[in-house]
């Protein structure tokens, strides 16, 4: 391992530090939650007081905190619509009812919702990231087994793996998802929700999440199998022969010589698969989960604001940038074998 060369990274470190300091300053100067709600009109406060003892409450209170900026809104439903919005930034509270501040407020709110802040792992960007990571993880594992099966000399094993790959690559992911979520439980008389305790209010989303991880991983396994197979078969045949000449068994040859080398050749393709799954993850809308795309489409239809797609794109780009970086590092690490 080379000595850590600080000079090479100096620029990056300085930029990161400046950003960090700026974020900390902005976060500290940001007005508190109580400050944001201080300007609430007496009318609205009266409504809130009425709500306290009512069986049908009318006021929706929203508070979104996004590290350096925060947003609060109070709104009522019904014939007489009242709505008050505030944005807090740099120690000041701005009303966000019109103009630039309205757009800023909307952006904070949309970003907050798309990131899935204040929700568990089954919402927004968190859902997209968890689902994609788990899918690719299980997919590569399953794919390695399938690839070894397909290139094995055992005819039955090879045929089964081939058939599996044929089936899962030849049918659309959306239909596979439907089958796992609707058809299988319907036929065998169970519900995905029952996998979790009945007292868990989020059970329905967790059930759908488990179903989607299963469907996605089964599908991704088929694609990864071909990635792994091509990587293994790209290793020079001479290495097999050399290992055999040294008296190594098939298992030893695979685990010690072939697979470590093929990992590096796999990485670019796996990274491709990862990004594909990342975008395919929006298919979970079909089984009631809300990922970034679904949430942005929802906001578009309910509020008619096309601006929502800008933060959506930025969130996607940030996620791909981060994982692209990670895959780059892994590839560098494994290239020592070549």
């Amino acid at each position: 391992m080379k000595k850590f060369d600080i000079k090479k990274y100096l620029k990056t470190i300085i930029i990161l530090c400046v950003i960090l300091v700026a974020v900390v300053i902005l976060a500290v100067l940001k007005p508190s939650e109580t400050d944001l709600f201080k300007n609430t009109s007496p009318e609205m406060q009266k409504m809130i007081e009425q709500d306290a003892n009512s069986t049908r409450k009318r006021v929706t209170v929203t508070y979104n905190n996004l590290l350096i900026i925060n947003y609060a809104s109070l709104s009522t439903s019904g014939a007489k619509v009242m709505s008050e919005k505030y944005v807090g930034f740099l120690g000041k509270v701005y009303p966000a009812d019109k103009g630039g501040m309205k757009i800023t407020g909307q952006m904070v709110n949309y970003t907050y919702r798309m990131l899935g802040c204040g929700e568990n792992l089954m919402h927004g960007a968190k859902l997209t990231i968890t689902l994609t990571t788990l899918t690719v993880l299980f997919g590569v594992l399953l794919g390695t087994i399938l690839a070894l099966g397909k290139i094995s000399k055992n005819k039955i094993l090879s045929k089964i793996s081939g058939a599996y790959i044929f089936f899962f690559r030849g049918t659309p992911l959306l239909i596979q998802l439907f089958v796992v979520y609707f058809t299988v439980p319907g036929m065998f008389g169970f519900a995905w929700r029952d996998v979790f305790s009945s007292s868990d209010p989020e059970a329905v989303f967790k059930g759908a999440f488990v179903a989607s991880v299963i469907a996605f991983a089964l599908n991704s396994g088929a694609y990864c199998a071909e990635i792994v197979r091509s990587a293994i078969q790209s290793i020079d045949k001479g290495q097999f022969e050399a290992a055999k000449a040294l008296g190594m068994t098939y298992r030893q040859t695979m685990t010690r010589i072939i697979i470590p080398q093929s990992v590096r050749r796999m990485i670019p393709n796996v990274s491709n698969e990862f990004i594909m799954v990342l975008k395919d993850a929006s298919l979970v809308f079909a089984i009631s989960l809300m990922d970034i795309t679904t949430i942005s489409k929802n906001i578009m239809t309910s509020e008619g604001s096309y601006l929502v797609f800008i933060p959506a794109l930025i969130i996607y780009l940030l996620i791909t940038a981060f994982f692209g970086f990670v895959f780059n590092k892994i590839e560098k690490k494994f290239s020592v074998y070549e």
Partner: protein, 296 residues
């Protein structure tokens, strides 16, 4: 040689299959332009046509996307308002009957364009002249589009599995339950409001299609479905698996035909047509046909 013969046979089969498909498509294309195969519409269309020839509504100032045709956007997966007939290509349903009768009054043909509920409003005036797809008239929507006079009343209702004995006397009894709604419908908006205001603590599962909600209910993924009473009535007509336990009769909603904001002439013409149909009893007749006699 054997292989060659086999592949030739395969190709022939494929080719025949494709030709077969082509024919069917052509047939259905002509059908969709005149979707009047349902008994209700067939029965009344003749009388409507007679009336129309007598005193046609003036549509000289109306802008249409294609001449002589009223293009209608609908999310055709919402029985009994709109659904595909057994052949899978002909749209049928309450909305289809109503809009066909309206177009007849105006001396126009109907072309139903199947579109996703997401973005259905964005297509009005662009891809189709009007949207008629069980659309609730709301103040927010009225800001961006015109509505015809309402042609049906609707209530939010709670549907349970037939074997579920839970008592639901109001939406507040859904406390702690998991419910399914169709995404971005009035049911979704209402239930989200109940949740966001803290009135009740409820888990809302939003689906693209109402049929997904009912499958989830049947599979036991959710405890209840909150849905338009009209849709629930239609579902209950065709299945014994569900029951309606509560209808929110206090807050009625009205469905209207949505029209582009810069086409008030069309709105006026459609309103006249609807008024005539109402007077003739056609709307009530169609309602009874599609929803049974459970109307309030």
């Amino acid at each position: 040689m054997k292989k060659k013969v086999l592949s030739l046979v395969c190709m022939a089969v494929l080719a025949f299959g494709l030709v077969g498909c082509g024919n069917k498509d052509a047939a259905s294309d002509t059908k969709t332009e005149t979707p009047e195969v349902t008994p209700a519409s067939v029965a009344t269309d003749s009388s409507v046509a007679d009336d129309a020839s007598g005193e046609a509504i003036d549509i000289s100032g109306v802008k249409l996307i294609s001449d002589g045709v009223l293009s209608v956007g609908a999310d055709v997966a919402y029985p009994p308002f709109e659904d595909f007939a057994e052949d899978g290509t002909t749209p049928i349903g309450f909305d289809v009957d109503i809009i066909t009768a309206v177009a007849d009054k105006l001396g126009l043909k109907v072309n139903i364009i199947n579109t996703a509920w997401d973005g259905i409003f964005a297509g009005i005036g662009v891809n189709y002249d009007v949207a008629c797809s069980a659309i609730t008239i709301t103040p927010e929507r009225q800001e961006t589009m015109l509505f015809s006079t309402p042609y049906i009343n609707n209530y939010q209702s709670v549907v349970l599995r037939a074997d579920d004995d839970t008592e639901i006397a109001s939406f507040n009894d859904l406390e702690g339950k998991t419910i399914a709604v169709q995404k971005e419908t009035t049911s979704d908006i209402l239930m989200s409001d109940y949740k966001s205001t803290g009135t009740i603590n409820v888990q809302i599962v939003a689906n693209e299609k109402i049929t997904s909600c009912f499958t989830q209910l049947l599979n036991g993924e959710v405890d209840a479905v909150v849905v338009d009473s009209t849709v629930a009535d239609g579902f209950l007509n065709s299945s014994d698996d569900y029951k309606i336990v509560y209808k929110d009769t206090a807050e009625a909603e009205q469905f209207g035909i949505a029209i582009s904001v810069d086409n008030p002439e069309l709105q006026k013409a459609i309103n006249e047509a609807l008024a005539e149909l109402e007077a003739e009893g056609y709307i009530q007749e169609t309602y009874d046909y599609w929803f049974g006699t459970v109307a309030e």
